[in-house]
Symmetry: C2
DNA sequence: ACAATAGTTTAGTAATGACTAAATTAATGA
DNA sequence: TCATTAATTTAGTCATTACTAAACTATTGT
């Protein structure tokens, strides 16, 4: 998932994925849709997305058609779910601590020995 | 979510989040847990995570305690869900097209006029 | 074979980012 | 007040990266 997050971190590449949402598109279409960026740059972005497993490519004549690969997002999805379950665990722990006596046992107080 | 993805793209920061999974920790604890990286570097990573809304900080005496902020991951979660629903839409479209006659209408064939 | 079209690859540049060491701020304790 | 502990901030370095322009590769039509 290292590569997945790395790939998604660039706004341009998310823009490309967004453009590929509905259907596959040729590199040229993608280039035209983005605007303000070179064909070369687009090609590089597509290579990054492909290596990360986020898009697949298909050759047709002179064109190359790119489409999103849905399984590509799975590692990220799993990581997020893991984080989410941890959040639930924390809530549960907090609830149990609450029940166990002390009103807000969140902070361990330090013992102050001296007093002016 | 720009900042969220940017923050998550660095392995060190995911390592920190992972360490904060169960309970809050002081900056020093985090530094010791990571190992092989300066206190300064850790502090910088924590600042990035805090700006991205992924952790919250609390002062106690000389220590500063950091904890994961679960709402911080929500933008990413929503983005992922959006992508996922698009994937479902694609499947649906494909199924409908399948039903509508042509066996695999995914690709529009070009008309070849000449023949050798 | 040649020209045109569609895309990739390369070389180079400017900006960003992760890191370290050292200076700095903040709170406590003597 | 001064020393100590805990953490942040700053200045500078090295690597990565997003980009452009230009060279290159591949496919098709004539």
């Amino acid at each position: 998932m290292e590569m997945v997050l790395q790939a998604l971190a660039a706004p341009r590449r998310r823009e490309i994925l967004r453009f590929l949402r509905r259907r596959e598109r040729s590199a040229g279409e993608i280039h035209r849709a983005l605007g303000g960026v070179t064909f070369g740059a687009v090609s590089q972005h597509l290579a990054v997305l492909e290596h990360a497993g986020l898009v697949s490519a298909r050759r047709e004549g002179r064109s190359r058609f790119y489409a999103t690969r849905d399984e590509g997002l799975r590692p990220l999805r799993e990581w997020l779910d893991e984080m989410w379950s941890d959040a639930l665990d924390r809530l549960k722990d907090a609830a149990e601590a609450e029940e166990a006596g002390a009103p807000r046992p969140r902070v361990v107080r330090k013992n102050r020995r001296s007093k002016p």
